[in-house]
Amino acid sequence: MNKVDLSGYDPKRRAFFRRGLMLLSGLLAALVGIPAIAFLIEPLVEKIRSNEVELGPIEELTDRPRKYVIRFMTQTGWVKSEKVMTLYARRAAPDSDEVVVMSNICTHLGCPARWEDENDRFFCPCHDGIYDIEGRVIGGPPPRPLDRLKPIVRDGYLFVDPTDYIHQIDEEKLLGGKGSTEEG
């Protein structure tokens, strides 16, 4: 009664089924594994979320920095939040159509710097960081010039896309900056 019936035993058939089983198992594993890997690498895939924000008509710009406070929505995962950002825009030269847009975030520790027209400089009150009209560091601890955003001019109006720049700011905040972007 405890004997195994070997009469129908065929090594070739058995090897075939063994391989078939392995193939089928591999197929099933791939069926779950490939979507799982795709799901996991999702954060690596670049999201194309254009977020153009209007600053104003280009004719109001001079060669002196003009302050703009912009509000826009950003999204990380399912969390949407409003961000406020202060920018300075000016013409590169009095008659130039070339526009320069700079962030007011001090490159030292992320405090908001402000344009002082009478002193012809950007000044950050936290640690006395000083920048010239081009955003170059002329005094104090900032390690690099003020950040620039790519200006988008369309139909006589100036726009910027702050999305990419925002990531940069967030990283700086994580690295110990204590600045708020809400005041300029």
């Binding site: 009664m1 405890n2 004997k3 195994v4 019936d5 070997l6 035993y9 090594p11 058995r14 090897a15 063994r18 099933l28 779950v32 979507p35 799982a36 795709a38 799901f39 996991l40 690498i41 999702e42 895939v45 995962g77 399912w78 969390v79």
Partner: protein, 256 residues
């Protein structure tokens, strides 16, 4: 009996004589350290009753397979899910509608696998139970396997009940409202049980976090543990065979 048992094992070993250790590679490295073939022969190459009857014995394995799929997709979903009243619906919506890789709706796919997997699980577990019932496999000496199976059935229902709430939409909310109220109608223990399950008198954020903890921490741990015990018992005692008897399976039945 002992002698016969040895013979059966010997013959199964013979059947597996074609499983050769490869001369190199990872399998060779492993086999040099422990002979995995012993495990394969003993635990994977069990004879099952011949012809189409054998298919009835795949139901438990199928359920275990779906459990694996649920575990993998569940872990993935947990990476994007927020178990709060503000976050639950929004995060599930994000998974379904916005989680894409190169335009492919991967979030929708993974959530879909988890969703349909849960339905398949209920069906397979039900069929598996019917198979055991009709073949009389629950009888001595396999009562403990059956009882563990009953526990696993309850866990499966628990997975379905707690998982249903997590999307936190109208259907989920009211289904849980009704479900926990039904629980409250139990005599004596009903009301206290309802309050414990809900984490308070009313449905709230507490209900959601509770259900989430039960769904992703308590039940997976318990289910894994009892599936292992269930499998160990099946392998220790052998499968029961059909009611027709005198199948190849009878030969292997007694062996450990």
């Amino acid at each position: 009996m002992d002698e016969g048992r040895g013979t059966a094992e010997e013959q199964i070993r013979q059947l597996n004589a074609d499983v050769k250790i490869p001369p190199r590679g990872l399998v060779h490295w492993l086999a040099e350290r422990f002979d995995y073939r012993a495990f394969v022969i003993k635990d994977l190459d069990k004879p099952v009753p011949g012809d189409w009857w054998g298919w009835f014995f795949t139901l438990g394995t199928a359920a275990a397979g779906i459990f694996l799929v649920q575990a993998i997709t569940g872990v993935l979903l947990a990476m994007y899910y927020a178990a709060t009243p503000e976050g639950a619906y929004e995060s599930v919506k994000y998974i379904s509608e916005e989680l894409k890789v190169w335009g492919f709706p991967i979030g929708h796919l993974i959530r879909g696998m988890h969703f349909w997997g849960s339905t398949a699980m209920i069906i397979l577990v039900g069929l598996h139970m019917l198979r055991v019932l009709f073949f009389g496999s629950y009888k001595k000496p396999r009562e403990v396997t059956w009882l563990i199976g009953v526990l696993l059935l309850i866990f499966t229902a628990g997975f379905a009940f707690t998982g249903y709430l997590l999307p936190w939409d109208q259907k989920a909310y009211w289904a849980t409202q009704v479900g926990t109220n039904i629980l409250g109608t139990l005599p004596v223990i009903g009301q206290p049980l309802k309050v414990i399950i809900r984490g308070g008198q009313e449905m709230s954020a507490m209900t959601l976090t509770r259900f989430y903890a039960i769904h992703v921490l308590i039940l997976p741990a318990l289910t894994t543990l009892f599936i292992l015990a269930h499998l160990a018992l099946v392998r220790m005692q052998g499968i029961s065979g059909t009611w027709r008897g005198k199948d190849p399976v009878d030969a292997a039945k007694g062996e450990a």
